[in-house]
Amino acid sequence: MTATPMTTTDAGAAASAQAGTRRSGNPFAMLRRALVYVLLSIAAFVSVFPFFWMIVGTTNTSADIIRGKASFGSAFFDNAATFFTQVDALRVFWNSAVIAIVGTVLTLAISSLAGYSFEMFRSKVRERIFALLLLLLSIPFAALMVPLFVMFAQAKLVNTYVAVILPTVASIFIIFYFRQATKAFPSELRDAAKIDGLKEWQIFLYVYLPVMRSTYAAATIIIFMANWNNYLWPLIVLQTAENKTITLIVSALTSAYTPDYGMILFGTVLATLPTLIIFFLLQRRFVEGMLGAVK
């Protein structure tokens, strides 16, 4: 993918300043602007409404939710109490957190190293390998599950966090993402560091990593989300209740003989909270990070 030319800042700023003064007063421009606001408002409403619905749901009884009640109720504490008596929340949160955090750190380390290397040290063989990896990206996980399970069973690792985390750590998508982002990494920085006598691993750790922190922030969100929401593989490989993640537990609640909607929605809010928090913490860096990936 090609890099875009550098901006001629002064000309651009002057032009948009000019445009800014001219814009006010033009009825067509104003109409268009109004349309843009309407469009974006609708999009934002549609995007956010289900969240509102979910939060309203946590305050209503199961019966009210089924009737489609869309206003706040008073059952919030009952729902919370039911949830906490039925689910060992601390335990499942701990499991989810360990899996998601350790998984994210390891994925960042291993996959960014590989992405960096694929871009920085190009060779014919490595290019071929990269092309092959892109093809493998498309294989549905369901197809790999049985052989994977056999491997972990032979290694006596079934029902461990290791078994959940390890297969996700080398992520082709994240390698791909870091390779794209590395294209924007100024090679002069590397050359300068080499002249200063830094070894390759030092360049990666002390130069590349700090410069690319936005890219890492964006990747953190993507990987954390994927790990936190991972369903199929943890379902198969985690056997005992005390090792299960919040995603598995909440999902099972929905298929009880007598599903308690209020309690389930309380659980889904709880299960969504950590990814939301991570997103809001890293949000500014996230957009910058995505920017790097598409240059």
Partner: protein, 295 residues
Amino acid sequence: MPQARLDRREHITGWAFIAPALILLGLFMIYPIVWSLWMSFQVGKGMNLSFGGLANIERLTKDAVFQRALGNTFIFFIVQVPIMIGLALLFAVALNDSTLRFRGLFRTAIFLPCVTSLIAYSTLFKSMFATNGVVKNALMTLHLTDGPIPWLTDPFWAKILIIIAITWRWTGYNMIFYLAALQNIDRSIYEAARIDGVPAWARFRYLTIPMLKPVILFTTVISTIGTLQLFDEVQNITQGGPSDATLTLSLYIYNLTFKFMPSFGYSATVSWVIVVLVGILSFIQFLIARDRRSA
């Protein structure tokens, strides 16, 4: 980006940095895939397997359910991907205007859906689109429909629902890529075009689109793979029904392995169909990309 020839040490570093990822991918991806390639020549039930040559391929050609799943996957691909990419582009262009108010708010809101946990998202969509759900109430209040739309119980509408669900969840994600790319584009080109009296639609068509082409290609590839792997939504919202209207290839593989009388050889064959399909699609995309370069 042109790269100087690598020296010996860089070559070694190149391999060393990739090694951890390659070892893990070899273990947890390549090995299971090769295993499943071998399995695709096996026939039999459960653990009683024997070599069947091309019997599974032959079975595939007569399998109406497989053809339905393939057809559905293609419909989702052909209908949903363009809608999503179009909307994402539209929002990105609208949000790229630096004089727009509440940009951050709109951007965050539209991005929010892709941070939801899968379980929250599927529970919400099922309840909102239930026969007497909040969507029906809203549409009837707005007099857009005079009766409930059978979102989940009619083959046609169930497909639409899945398309709505995926679009809801992933439009913001794609939008961020475009937004990031747009911010890279030299503003002065736009202003020059504007001063020359080029209308907005033409600026979009002849300036924005060509400059975003690499990113559009990137997101198209990612969405193509996402569609071919489509599993979470259909498994959790419609279970592939009604009447297999939302059955996808991934869900069919899951059913063959875990729901039906286990015939693992056959489900491995279906997995390999996806690999071959992606191979073909990637090749087409490669040809398009090469055309662009030579033009």
